[in-house]
């Protein structure tokens, strides 16, 4: 399980309520309290590919200008070889 703390930079006209609702109902995300134009979000990914897919999904949501990562815990993540 990979647990990441994300920081969403929101557009000026971001549909905040809709975005927060969409994140709240998504099983992989837990939104925090919006601070100005920034929204902290916890993301949990269950397998190797999912974290990147989720990252792309959240970046594509209306109102999201940019996604930065603040924290990640991967102590139960498997390793790979090429």
């Amino acid at each position: 399980m990979l647990t990441a703390g994300l920081l969403l930079s929101l557009n000026q006209n971001a549909p905040i309520a809709e975005l927060t609702f969409r994140l709240a109902e998504h099983p992989a995300f837990s939104p925090g309290s919006k601070q100005g134009m920034w929204l902290p979000v916890v993301m949990e990914a269950s397998d190797d590919a999912e974290s990147r897919e989720l990252h792309d999904w959240i970046a594509a949501q209306p109102g999201v200008a940019f996604v930065d990562v603040v924290h990640v815990n991967f102590d139960e993540t498997p390793t790979a070889s090429t």
């Binding site: 399980m1 990979l2 647990t3 990441a4 703390g5 994300l6 920081l7 930079s9 929101l10 557009n11 000026q12 837990s30 925090g32 309290s33 919006k34 601070q35 100005g36 134009m37 920034w38 929204l39 902290p40 979000v41 916890v42 993301m43 949990e44 990914a45 190797d48 590919a49 974290s51 990147r52 897919e53 990252h55 200008a65 940019f66 930065d68 990562v69 603040v70 924290h71 990640v72 815990n73 991967f74 102590d75 993540t77 498997p78 390793t79 790979a80 070889s81 090429t82």
Partner: protein, 805 residues
């Protein structure tokens, strides 16, 4: 009692909320009150990957890195990381880490002891020290590079050492040297916080330096107006954020910059006062071979001559050359003519990996100087680096074949003498002839001795030339047929380079060792070892010192200083010598600190002053020159050459280029003509081929391809095409096709309407995938001044795979 999962969620949310709160308050983020009690210990380190120099907090539990967090105390990233950075801890834990020295016998790499490995290297060097070379890296730590430089130049009297930074930053170096007389940017990342206009010249910052790009996007989020301009040959993720995307024909960037300069002069946009006070004009020398420094010095030209030289570059003519509308050239010139704006230019491989890379750098500096957009926060021309210590180790330590530490030159007798004094060497120890630069070194190594191949033994550390050199079929692969050549590779994983290695040494990486890096903005950073390397892997620096000591014991006189002491003699706090060449005793003292303090003595000459080691332990990096204040504290410098911030600028001077090549405290505005590329598309090879990077993978992918999340996100290379070009050839999206140049051919899937969008007539291949080596195709024509190869332009053709199996 909370569960492990709940704990991790709480820690992630706490950290993200702290940064969000700080941004909303527009204040530096305080250290997050991350919950404790999970058994994780935290320490700081710069990220292992690019040249941005983000600081991370590394969480360690049970001797293993288990968590990564953006360091909220770090000025560079203010708590943020990119997708590569937050997976950086996993780069340590690929299943196929090298854990034993391996020697090739009968074509097979077999485990041997470290003693045998060190003895093998020492005997090869003893047999022919002048035929030995080191190929290093902008990923070497500062102490590693310094030790290697001293070992070969000061010990073996041999200058055949060059870093892979020759492949990425050498043209930026020659650009800075010939314009300002000293390398590296005058400004820093603070410019990104102050500029009104950011022009990214061939620089896909959103993917290659995403944390810096985020810094600018953040300003927009706050409601500030920042105009973003992407000047490039291929539409990228960066383009999508920009107000203007300006697409030009490959190799025509010099024409565009000449066009801007022409309009600044003809339409009154030049800042005449700034130019008269702070600038001279230069052009290429009539006889570049007259003196070794002639290409960097150039010949003087008058303003009238400069103006006349630019006169052909009318907007209409530039449009013909570049494909950029004349109105757009005028728009750019108008921006530079506006003195109320603050303009920052950034560039990276687009300018540097260019067979006229030095001139591209010069012209960009030139339009900033001509318009006076220099010397105020937000007004700066700034190159970005791709490796974490291309600046700190390659450029500042001087691990290039023509440099000595601290900006000194091999060809300068006084510089050699001073370096010998600082290293306590007998006079004349340092060889007066420069060594082989990267391309020449590999060409000589891949040529038999009877045909002039004068490098017999080559030691590679912390880089992967078997994938990253251009035109591999000429400068790397021929080694396979030359059994008398001996390739030593210090690595953490098997790579395209170890495929041909005769001896492989397993290395420690990143927080498995102490280290120091220097990032793109002159910031020197430090970290401590946090976990142990796997198996028998050992530090690269130790490997070099162990070989040096073995040579000493074998009687190589170069391993002694002029007092007969070993070149790398270190003492503990009690004044007792510690034999650090014995691995169990290597960490008995801090070797990094000893080497760094010795290196510091070199840094004053070019006013690149570094603080004592312990200052870096306390800080999240400091930007040089770092100068001690009257109260004993150490102060970094954000803006060089500007009186308001740089302590070396004379009072009242306002701006002073105190290393001016013309010795009059002025910078040089160069004229350089637009020229044709070395190889352009024709009937047989009708496409431009450009190569580069992708967001998920760092350079040759040896680390990031072993990180499951990144590997899954971008599992293999591809060739990007314009959809009309692809459909015209009948290619389906994802179909495997053949890309062919005069140097080789390669099968890979075609991708259109994907992430990047090349224009018609252009294709793009990323170089991260060792199974699809695009550098078998590249030309590698070098810039005549910097010797840096061009990876961005050569002629290619494409065909169905079935047609050319």
């Amino acid at each position: 009692m909370i569960t492990r999962r709940e704990f991790n969620r709480l820690a992630a949310l706490t950290a993200a909320t702290a940064v969000a709160n700080a941004r909303a308050q527009q204040a530096p983020a305080p250290a997050a009150n991350v919950p404790v009690g999970d058994g994780i210990t935290w320490d700081k380190a710069p990220c292992r990957f690019c040249g941005t120099g983000c600081h991370v907090r590394v969480g360690v539990k049970n001797g293993r890195v288990v968590a990564i967090e953006g360091d909220q105390l770090a000025d560079v990233n203010k708590g943020l990381l990119c997708v590569k950075g937050y997976h950086v801890g996993l780069a340590l834990y690929g299943k196929d880490r090298l854990t034993q020295p391996l020697l090739r016998r009968n074509g097979v790499l077999e485990p041997i002891s470290w003693e045998e490995a060190i003895e093998t290297i020492a005997q090869r060097i003893m047999a022919a020290p002048e035929k030995f070379a080191i190929y290093g890296s902008g990923q070497w730590t500062i102490p590693e590079g310094y030790a290697a430089n001293k070992f070969i130049k000061g010990g073996l009297s041999n200058n055949h050492i060059d870093p892979n930074a020759r492949l990425c930053m050498a043209s930026a170096v020659t650009g800075y040297l010939s314009v300002f007389g000293v390398d590296e940017p005058a400004g820093c990342y603070d410019d990104l916080d102050k500029c009104d206009v950011l022009i990214m010249w061939g620089n896909n910052m959103a993917e290659m330096h995403p944390v810096l790009f985020s810094r600018v996007i953040d300003r927009r989020t706050k409601g500030e107006k920042v105009t973003l301009i992407d000047v490039g040959t291929r539409r990228t993720r960066t383009s999508e954020f920009c107000d203007h995307y300006i697409e030009f024909k490959p190799h025509s960037d010099l024409a565009i910059m000449n066009g801007i300069a022409h309009l600044l002069i003809e339409k009154g946009g030049m800042n005449a006062e700034f130019v008269a006070r702070f600038c001279n004009f230069r052009k290429a020398p009539k006889d570049p071979a007259a003196t070794p420094t002639a290409p960097l010095m150039g010949d003087a030209m008058t303003f009238d001559e400069y103006r006349a030289a630019l006169s052909p570059y009318t907007p209409e003519q530039v449009e013909k050359l570049s494909g950029v509308p004349a109105s757009t050239i005028k728009m750019l010139a108008d921006l530079f003519a506006n003195k109320d704006l603050r303009i920052t230019s950034t560039w990276c491989m687009g300018f540097n990996q260019h067979s006229r890379g030095t001139n591209a750098n010069r012209l960009c500096h030139g339009i900033h100087l001509l318009s006076g957009h220099f010397g105020r926060p937000g007004d700066a021309p700034t190159s970005l680096t791709g490796q974490p210590s291309a600046s700190g180790t390659a450029r500042e330590v001087g691990t290039l074949c023509h440099f000595l530490p601290g900006g000194r030159m091999i060809l300068n007798a006084e510089h050699r003498k001073e370096s010998e004094r600082l290293w306590n060497l007998p006079e004349g120890r340092i060889h007066p002839k420069i060594g082989h630069h990267t391309m020449l070194m590999w060409e000589k190594f891949c040529t038999s001795a009877d045909k002039g191949g004068d490098i017999q033994t080559l030691w590679v550390q912390v880089t992967n030339p078997g994938q990253s050199l251009p035109n591999l079929n000429k400068v790397f692969k021929p080694k396979a047929a030359l059994p008398d050549k001996f390739l030593i590779v210090s690595e953490v994983y098997r790579t395209a380079t170890t495929e041909l290695a005769d001896l492989v040494l397993p290395s420690s990486m990143w927080v498995e060792k102490n280290g120091m890096y220097g990032n793109s903005e002159r910031r020197t950073q430090q970290w401590f070892r946090m976990v142990k390397p796997p198996g028998e892997a050992r530090d690269d620096c130790w490997q070099m010192l162990a070989v040096a000591r073995r040579l000493h014991d074998l009687g190589h006189l170069g391993m002694k200083d002029k007092d007969g002491k070993f070149l790398f003699t270190f003492k503990n706090d009690k004044g007792e010598e510690v034999p650090v060449w014995e691995w169990p005793r290597y960490y008995e003292i801090n070797v990094d600190k000893s080497l760094f303090e010795e290196y510091r003595a070199f840094t004053r000459y070019k006013h690149k002053d570094l603080a004592p080691y312990n200052e870096y332990v306390k800080a999240r990096g400091l930007r040089w020159p770092v100068v001690q204040q009257s109260d004993g504290t150490w102060r970094e410098t954000k803006f060089r050459f500007s009186e308001f911030d740089d302590p070396y600028v004379k009072k009242g001077a306002k701006i002073q280029f105190y290393h001016s090549t013309t010795k009059d405290d002025k910078a040089q505005i160069w004229f350089a003509p637009a020229e044709k590329a070395a190889e352009e598309p024709d009937v047989e090879f009708p496409f431009w081929l450009c190569t580069g990077r992708v967001l998920e993978h760092w350079h040759t992918g040896t680390m990031t391809r072993r990180i499951p999340q990144l590997h899954a996100a971008m599992p293999h290379a591809y060739v990007e095409m314009h959809p009309e070009d692809a459909r015209g050839k009948g290619f389906a999206n994802g179909e495997t096709i053949v890309v062919k140049t005069r140097r080789g051919d390669l099968k890979l899937p075609v991708w259109y309407d994907g992430r990047g969008h090349p224009p018609r007539g252009t294709i793009f291949i990323p170089f991260f995938d060792e199974r699809m080596l695009c550098n078998e195709l590249t030309l590698g024509d070098i810039d005549p001044i910097s010797k840096e190869p061009d990876y961005k332009k050569c002629a290619a053709t494409v065909m169905r795979a079935a047609v050319n199996p």
